[in-house]
């Protein structure tokens, strides 16, 4: 670990707490509320400035310890991911918040690639940006379309006014300050693991990539868990259908008959490969079709 040799922590804890407090004030301004747009811009500026100061401190420390250049890709991906995260929380329009979450997911996939987890990056993009976000956007559209009587520019009151922004931001940034302090103070003391030549290692064979290695690991060591997660997905699907289905009340006196096609399909001609036609317009309709 690069910080193991250093005696001083990367960032002084007082500095971390001060930065977190200032960033919290910026976030309070930035959250949706009944303020002018200029206040929100000021909040965004404060938050961005705190982030830049934090990054500058880290880069300066890393340069002073001479552990090699900092990876520019890491800073770019981390910055984009955190910017997207802040916008998810502070954007008053739900669809835009969902799209900023997609940005965060892509930047996180970049971070995963930097950590040699290519399969996880691909799975993250597929599952989060592809499946989960589409579901979210569907539900947002569903809810927005049924209340379309209001003008599109007028946003709902529950989107524009936050609930207890000061208390929530104080709690969140207090937690963030403590976490960052512990991480930068104690992470250097973790024992360094040597690359292990076991089956559990990241590269079990010279020609096998991360995806193959992960496949070996999952189906050799985690087989029960894989099956359990499949079972859980099935249970979730059944539960979602049960929760969201609309109960149709049976009206008295009306016998509910399952819908059927009015006329069975009949072949157009004697060619066995022709497509059967449904309906009564078929001139060669037979009274009792063979199929």
């Amino acid at each position: 670990m690069p910080l193991a040799a250093a005696t001083a922590p990367a960032v002084q804890p007082v500095v971390i707490l001060l930065l977190c407090a200032a960033a919290g004030i910026g976030t309070i301004f930035l959250l949706p509320g009944k303020r002018e747009a200029s206040f929100r811009n000021i909040g965004g500026l404060i938050l961005a400035a705190m982030g830049l100061i934090f990054v500058a401190l880290l880069v300066k420390f890393a340069a002073s310890t001479a552990v090699g250049g900092m990876n520019v890709y890491f800073w770019a991906f981390a910055g984009i991911a955190l910017f997207g995260a802040v916008r998810v929380v502070t954007h008053p329009r739900p669809v835009y918040a969902a799209l900023y979450f997609v940005l965060t997911v892509f930047a996180s996939a970049g971070l995963f690639i930097l950590l040699w987890a290519e399969f996880m990056a691909a799975a993250l993009v597929l599952i989060y940006a592809g499946a989960i976000l589409v579901t979210y956007v569907f539900v947002i559209m569903l809810a927005a379309s049924s209340t379309s009587t209001r003008v599109a520019d007028v946003m709902a009151e529950y989107d524009t006014v936050s609930r207890e922004p000061v208390a929530a931001t104080a709690v969140g940034f207090a937690l963030m300050g403590v976490l960052l302090f512990v991480i930068f103070d104690k992470a250097a003391d973790l024992p360094v693991y040597k690359p292990a030549a076991t089956a559990n290692s990241i590269q079990p064979a010279a020609d096998a990539g991360n995806t193959q290695a992960l496949g070996y690991y999952m189906f050799n060591n985690q087989l029960i868990n894989v099956q359990l997660s499949g079972l859980m997905l099935t249970l979730g699907m059944v539960g979602a259908i049960l929760i969201a289905r609309r109960k149709v009340a049976a009206q008295p006196g009306v016998v509910m008959v399952p819908e059927m096609l009015s006329t069975p399909s009949t072949p157009v001609d004697d060619n066995p490969y022709s497509i059967p036609v449904t309906g009564t317009d078929n001139p060669r309709a037979k009274a009792y079709p063979e199929t």
Binding site: M1, L3, T27, V67, M70, F74, L82, A85, V88, V89, P94, F101, S108, L111, L115, A117, F119, M120, A123, L124, I127, T135, Y136, I140, A143, S146, T147, A156, E157, Y158, D159, V161, R163, E164, A167, A168, G172, F173, M176, L179, L180, I183, A187, L190, P195, A196, N200, S201, I202, L214, Y217, M218, S229, M232, L233, G236, M237, I241, I243, A244
Partner: protein, 102 residues
């Protein structure tokens, strides 16, 4: 970890988790609240994969796959619940369900 230390990735994960936590507590739209839960899952995933790289094994990535599974199940169930609640009160406001506090 030749170029970057573990703590940088842990810091990104922690910051993302806290931002999601703040959003979960402050936003009143039910859908955005669950979106912020996904944000917290994301931060935890970065943490897990960073630790997996640090320990040089695949446990972190395998754990993240299961986190993804749980996130997918949670999203489907939560959105089903949101649709159900929206049908009851015709609003997505979480404060419309204040009486559940007891």
């Amino acid at each position: 970890m030749s170029q970057l230390a573990l703590e940088h990735y842990l810091a990104v994960g922690a910051i993302m988790f806290c931002i999601g936590l703040i959003g979960f507590m402050t936003r009143r739209n039910l859908i955005i609240m669950f979106l912020c839960t996904e944000l917290m899952f994301q931060g935890v995933g970065i943490n897990l994969i960073a630790f997996g790289k640090f320990h040089n094994n695949l446990s972190g990535q395998a754990f993240t796959i299961f986190v993804l599974v749980i996130a997918a199940v949670e999203a489907s169930l939560a959105l089903g619940l949101v649709v159900l609640l929206f049908r009851q009160k015709n609003t997505l406001d979480a404060d419309a369900w204040k009486e559940l506090k007891g």
